[in-house]
Symmetry: C2
């Protein structure tokens, strides 16, 4: 294995010392970049960007080529590739979120749900990983990712995003047997999916638990966290103990101490959560990633600089913090504001290391 | 002042002993009730239900007439009556949330914003309070309410609900001066509004801070909590110290200890927050209200019974808990499931008192 030139992100996940706080942005390859919008136009649609390894590589590298100080790249893909491979028929309508042609309705369909042949049906993702990894030439580490089993299940049952989650909640409360069946299959599939991403070159893997935060404090552990734990254990059993693993439950700031116990190397935080309070809860044993409100990037340089410093001050002195946004960067973000954020992180964070 | 026959709700807000845990439901006068749908059809639209005191009284009493064991009534109104009185032009389109004809755009419009003549422009609300109070014949206490200054501001700036809050966030971060101006006016208007509701007969007042949870842990206090504190102080100065005050920040479970310090008698909790953990944070000095996930009411009696018991167990022995949902009851709730919940609260809670 060749040596990664800028390994500050990996070192921070291992709680080793670095000269500054590493930074990357969720959705850093995205619509706020004019070159991304250009690529998307060429590709015709979003799914083609994901499914064609040349496009996926092109857009994954764009933020790194434009900006200095980004310390990680992330696979360009969608969190819903797995349900698509299960036959649910993922599609995107212009200006709308993801939808499924065949959402999971009824006991029969649910018991028919099975682990897909991941290597075969999701080969385009692993091709993209290899291709991005190669194009990176070891400049920075590459993050692979998946939706969490619970988050995948919400989309599979609701059939789309942006709902009130009544279908998935009703199933969870009325038919926990059906819900567990889906979650077990999702956890096993995600484990295989991430294992293949690692084999293809991912240096780190991350689980996006976008909808874990809609669960109650009673159910979060049972329906979301435990299945993320299964995936981490599976990856460790498969021999990937050394690959750092990050989990991120949006809206899950009240459950940090539980999250710290499932073997993840990093925990993502949204802006509702205080880094210093989270740091106390993880007892400096798990790296924290976050947590600037992405809408701050819509304001102006002075405000951004001060807000970035506040985030860094909140974590304070010592290793174990990866700077990030608390959610994906919005498409309306002015390009120069991103630079202000990245420069402030790089310069101001040195004093904490 | 006549004596309220069932005063368990008031007593719990004063931390006095009661024989069982009192219960009411957010949005208890609502679309899940066939008699409500009938009234709405008669009225023609939702705003007419709010603006006509006979309709408002009819629907406010419906849940109390149908169900035993409800320990409070709540004013039937909308949280957006205040911006409407400010001239923003509230309207509802069928099947959609509230919208404004004249949302707050631009510095000029914002500096023109002024405290409306509350007594005059919102007299229909106070008429509804008096009428409901009279119709209740002191069976149970009546709750008056308002949106919080921050929550009103989000609607006023976004122009509608269900947005990504980019407009309001951008203003907050770029023009805190404009935001403070709006919030000060809102806080002063809400103070007068609630004072009038109390004079018209409200026994308790509640602030719905529906969107406080989108703020960061840095900004919550500055932009939402502090203005709720101002309202509580204003009401106390006006001589309403004895009227219990409840605040409810949806998604605000990480800030309970801050919420406990603004002089509120009760704090509402959503289902993401553990009652026992919140109880420790308020040190048994503030009453807690909540926090069953309303989607549990879509399941079946056994599940509901067990979930209700879990909530009561979570709070445990002692005074200071008002049972409620963690958000409004959904329109798809089967009528018999509400009864299961109410009966379980009444019967199972006795052992804790």
């Amino acid at each position: 294995m060749s040596i990664i030139q800028n390994d500050s992100f990996l070192k921070t996940l291992r709680r080793e010392s670095t000269p500054y706080t590493p930074v990357w942005m969720m959705r850093q390859a995205g619509r706020y970049l004019p070159e991304y919008r250009e690529s998307r136009k060429k590709a015709g649609n979003f799914l083609e960007l994901c499914k064609n390894k040349n496009f996926a590589t092109e857009v994954a590298l764009q933020p790194l080529d434009r900006y200095p100080f980004l310390d990680a790249a992330i696979l360009f893909s969608d969190i819903l590739t797995i349900p698509d491979a299960m036959g649910l028929g993922l599609y995107f309508e212009d200006g709308e979120g993801p939808k499924f042609n065949n959402p999971l309705h009824g006991e029969e369909a649910i018991f028919k749900l099975d682990i897909p042949d991941v290597e075969e049906s999701l080969s385009y993702v692993f091709d993209a990983v290899s291709s991005i990894k190669k194009a990176l030439s070891n400049r920075v580490p590459l993050i692979g990712f998946s939706g969490s089993p619970w988050t995948l299940a919400t989309y599979m049952i609701e059939g789309q995003g942006g709902t009130d989650f009544m279908k998935v909640k009703k199933m969870m409360y009325s038919r926990p047997d059906l819900m567990s069946h889906i979650l077990k299959i999702n956890a096993e599939t995600v484990s295989r999916y991430l294992a293949c991403q690692i084999k293809a070159g991912a240096d780190v893997v991350m689980l996006f638990d976008t909808w874990g935060g809609i669960l109650s404090h009673h159910e979060y552990e049972q329906y979301s966290l435990n299945y993320m734990k299964v995936i981490i254990s599976n990856l460790n059993i498969l021999g990937f103990e050394d690959i750092p693993k990050i989990i991120f439950t949006k809206g899950g700031g009240q459950w940090i101490s539980k999250q710290a116990k499932i073997g993840a190397d990093g925990i993502g935080l949204d802006w509702q959560t205080s880094l210093s309070s989270a740091r106390k809860q993880v007892k400096d044993q798990v790296t924290l990633q976050g947590n600037l409100d992405p809408s701050i990037l819509l304001s102006d340089p002075k405000v951004i600089e001060s807000a970035v410093k506040k985030v860094l001050d909140d974590y304070g002195v010592g290793e174990g913090h990866i700077f990030n946004l608390g959610h994906g960067i919005t498409q309306f973000t002015p390009l120069e504001n991103v630079l202000v954020m990245l420069e402030t992180v790089r310069n101001y964070s040195k004093k904490f290391h």
